[in-house]
Amino acid sequence: MSQNIENVQLKGVIFSPSELALVAPDITLTKYIKAGYRPSLRRFNEFKPMIISTAGISRYDISLLNDGKKINELTTVIGSSSIKCGGTSTICTISAGLVEDNFEAVNDYRMRLDADIIVNNDDKNEENEEIDNILGGNLINKNGCVYPVIEIAKGTTGPPGDEEIGLGEKLYETILHSGLINREELKVDVGLKSIDENGNEIILRGDDVGVIKKKFSFVIYARIQVFGKTGPLFDQCYASLVKALSDTKLPEVYLNERESNLRTKSGKRNANINIQSYDLVCDSVKYRKLKLRKDRICWSSTFGIVDLSSLNKEDNEGDIDIITETEEDIEQSILLTDLEGEAENNLSKRISVLSNGEGFFTSITIEKGNGSRITTDIIKQALELSQVRAKDMIPKF
């Protein structure tokens, strides 16, 4: 053994910067950070420019491509957006479905039992409360939600992975809890299509439509496609979803008169059962815009935090104003904006903030990951920086 040790020779291996970035991304990152820059040559707190636009592919978009026609008849997409940020493109399309609000099951005894609302009261308000309770209490009653599906193009097909599910579920959660969409806004005012004495088509609304006892709501689905992933995607997905929602136009819905009421004999005992079967038709031309709550429109910023244990101050010639100094002054945490590239993507210490630019936040996630202690300072910095960014970006929606 001792002989072997004598023969050991240590040779320095030299990697070119591009090789080192592949072999040891973390070392490359530290080297860059010490020099005051990031591998993407951006500053620590420099955001990436983001181009936000409507994709112009939805049904009610008047586009030149469409021969100047009022609607794009080929699609059922009712809102769309396209976002480009560095090498990453995100396309979001919105579609909608109709659902009955007070479904049969509400009056089912078992459902009442589950929701702890066994009351024998025919008061109408009570009934409404019951329905609210089953549907999910105050929150769901006030806030509308979106069901997003994320697809990250990887060159392979298959079921959605952890990341895609995580993104989709986080979008759903934040949209729902932030109250971006008022639930009232999703309710459908069903009209009755009829023909008046003069033979013109008219649409009856409100009290004129006696037959419709049921209420309907829109359910909004979003499909977000991401191409060219370089870093965390939540910021871009959120931005594209909000942009697409602000572009969303909900069609007018009316009832086909012919099929408004149907009486039929069915069931085991051939009893008379009144089946209200509705043929709901969405108007192909008329629409209304989906209104979002302006104060709840947020901008999402995800920050990565790098810990440098012995940052030599002399190395920093640039004026880096984002560096925090902990009490001991040995360890420094540096906030990086808009993470990009493998090394930055590997940072597990992150803060993700959704800010409306006016002092409110609708979601704050702090992950310590494998980094050092998260300080109050760094959280405050992240919140502040996200506000600045939000102020800057929200007008672009």
Binding site: G137, K170, E173, F360, I366, K368, I379
Partner: protein
């Protein structure tokens, strides 16, 4: 504020198990490992692979549970000494026995799952960097309600969940924090303060449970 109970060593056929209950939310979790990686593609040369599955109280797992798994993985992988178990797998199963909240919320289940997993990991003898516990709160009209009930959660404007590491019996570092709903900076910090003091409180009981369980394991020694 709701009560809580904890119990270790429930299941015999796994290496570690525990239940944790926050009044209406009850979760049992189990740990098996370190064992051979079930799928070779999951094998990591330098650290353990955590296979986490969350089972809902009713029905089959959905994207909601998948999202909980993602969150749990983030929390656990920075608390377990992962590099101690290279090329191996640690199987983690979280069974929600009673959800106690609406499906639109996850904070009660996540906090409960984190706490039960902490106990189960200790029971399985998995090497941990530090102790950790979690709690949650809701905010409404500038009030912070620590460990709210289902109804209080429904009417709140925002809810906060945090995980703190515990050093010398006191909440120490912030490991993970998740706030959703309309909130402000001051509210976030007061929520973090409220949760950390609640974690201190929970820790008193949980510590007793753990130490009692260690003593029970060593009955034959005395």
């Amino acid at each position: 504020m709701s009560a809580y109970t904890a119990k270790q060593n429930i299941l015999q056929q796994v290496d570690g198990s525990a239940t944790f209950q926050f009044s209406t939310t009850k979760i049992i979790s189990s740990i098996t490992g370190p064992i051979e990686v079930a799928r070779p593609r999951n094998e990591k040369p330098t650290e353990a692979f955590l296979s986490i599955s969350v089972r809902p109280s009713t029905g089959t797992p959905t994207t909601r549970e998948a999202f909980l798994e993602v969150k749990l993985k983030k929390i656990l992988s920075c608390m377990i000494n992962m590099e101690q178990y290279p090329l191996s797998e640690i199987q983690i199963v979280v069974q929600i026995l009673e959800s106690g909240e609406r499906e639109q919320f996850t904070c009660m289940e996540l906090a409960c799952a984190v706490n039960s997993l902490y106990l189960a990991l200790l029971n399985a003898g998995i090497s941990l960097k530090a102790s950790f516990l979690s709690s949650f709160c809701a905010s409404k009209d500038d009030n912070i309600i620590v460990r709210p009930t289902k109804e209080e959660l429904d009417t709140s404007t925002a809810n906060h969940l945090s995980v703190f590491s515990i050093s010398d019996g006191k909440a120490d570092e912030l490991i993970y924090s998740d706030s959703i709903g309309k909130t402000t900076e001051t509210e976030l910090f007061s929520a973090l303060a409220a949760i950390s003091s609640d974690v201190n409180k929970i820790n008193e009981t949980v510590r007793e449970v753990i130490l009692q369980s260690v003593v029970d394991d060593y009955v034959w020694k005395f």
